[in-house]
Symmetry: C3
Subunit: 243 residues, 3 copies
Amino acid sequence: MAIALFTDFGSEGIYTGQMEAVIDTIAPDMRVISLLNNAPKTNPFLSAYLLSALCRQFSEKTVFLCVVDPGVGGNRRGLVLKADNQYFVGPDNGLFNRVARQAKNCRWFEIIYRPEYCSLSFHGRDIFAPVAAKIACQQSEGLLRSVAPPDCSTYPDDLKKIIYFDHYGNAMTGIRYHKRLYGLDLTIKQCTIAQAGTFSEVKPGKLFWYRNSLGLIEIAANQASAQALLDLSLADDIEFQNA
Amino acid sequence: MAIALFTDFGSEGIYTGQMEAVIDTIAPDMRVISLLNNAPKTNPFLSAYLLSALCRQFSEKTVFLCVVDPGVGGNRRGLVLKADNQYFVGPDNGLFNRVARQAKNCRWFEIIYRPEYCSLSFHGRDIFAPVAAKIACQQSEGLLRSVAPPDCSTYPDDLKKIIYFDHYGNAMTGIRYHKRLYGLDLTIKQCTIAQAGTFSEVKPGKLFWYRNSLGLIEIAANQASAQALLDLSLADDIEFQNA
Amino acid sequence: MAIALFTDFGSEGIYTGQMEAVIDTIAPDMRVISLLNNAPKTNPFLSAYLLSALCRQFSEKTVFLCVVDPGVGGNRRGLVLKADNQYFVGPDNGLFNRVARQAKNCRWFEIIYRPEYCSLSFHGRDIFAPVAAKIACQQSEGLLRSVAPPDCSTYPDDLKKIIYFDHYGNAMTGIRYHKRLYGLDLTIKQCTIAQAGTFSEVKPGKLFWYRNSLGLIEIAANQASAQALLDLSLADDIEFQNA
């Protein structure tokens, strides 16, 4: 098993490192993979779409330690979702709802584990990291209790919005590629963008959309930043024409 | 044991990766935790306060490999501090002085280890990384010699300054929370800021101060950047009113 | 053995984490070192100089998983270079040519491995990561076939250009230090810059050049950013006067 970190903590490491230190005390030989540290900041809704696309690249039995948690310290619960054979540990704010919709078998748990000392602002370190480590070590007895699934109906399977920008300025959407989209144009901020297979098929600087490596629609430009060229922001709306 | 990296190298990895490669040759199975790579740049004084708060989150026997080292290549020594049962390896520039003040038992050592080749600008790789790895493997014989403790009197227990900004723009200070501060207002850059328990207690965008997860006073705003709202810089002064 | 990641993916981790997850399924106990994630973006030529300097700091048998790959999805091949006893896995775009020139013994291979599913835009995850992991586990049979070496003649041993900026704004060049450069002045963007031994030898804010910790000429300023002071860009030209 491995533990994958999915957070909005940034790449500097002050929070990620503290979580890894906690994991190390419980699971000294466990691999900790920094999957992502720039999930949409304080935005569990957009983050839910990114997580559901990324987790499909990971093997069974991965434990995802997920912290996009603007409500920390309030009365939101801590949750564990077992979706098929992957585990997701984090706050009860919708972050796992899109994952649940694509899984064949889901079991939901509330975290009842409480540490001796618990900060008001960093449950990632004080609650979620130890729970994730104990699950990865199969020592979760007494930490969790079964709960009814949350209402996932407000998380459509495809989200017609920008959910992520990568280092190159490529703009990932929450829309899964489907063959009925083949050859259609896409509209964003009143610009019309045509499909291409991948970067090397278009001229440097030219905008295009394509099926990215996670199976999602992505707006990109060859050797340039689509984000900068179109002045894009997270949650910007996308439409396919005649779709 | 684990080795935690505390540096001002940035998150890109060119220096961190070289240190980890050195550690790997000496201690192949040792966990290396990237605790922090954006310590206050070339500022050992502010970094000392951050390190002393963070190390308390780590277990005994952690070895901290610390590189905030503007004087590299000059005549400053390399030091090892054994503080209670944690080790700190790095330059003799005050970086460990605040740690020493909070420890029950301190032993100080000068690093006498010298590699075959030593660069003038990267002792982190050439001296501190091998020494940290050998300490973690309990092979430190002949590398160190005991020295008298440095003068730590210019490192007050509480520093009324900003010492760190995180990815969200929260501004951490060097002041430890104490119950006598409860309910007091704080002044920074002629603004007055009231206390709150945590983020979810205040409206989005509102500034507040609180006890952060390291036990320090932190200035924050719910779902906004205190750093941007107040145009803050490292080392800005803080005062508590009527404190 | 260890696997070192050399990419232009940025420090956020969405791509690096997916590669590490693939490595983990094949080589669960293998150390993965994030050597660099801000190689010159989509620029294999400049990246080749950085890689050839960095790899000399690593031990024999390191496998370098290298992804600076603007041509992904086109008809460029995947390559493996065995240079002395290090391995380099990545695209056939010149990225390994400078490494080959400094090695005593080189063997070149084309990657014939193809996964069940292969994206058009992320061969780092789908092809290069599994091949690197299998090589590190000595399970490379059937993945590779020997090919003739590429033409490396357009990669001079010394490149008189900026190839990298670090977190401090130091500007690394592709020129190796040699004693015949001792005491010479260097010209960049019509500025003349003198040599110093290292940072602590010059006044804060002052520009100098020096032999950096990789053995390359670097333009720096004590506790300031040479990049900002001189408004430098990647690939800017450097000349030594009277050299």
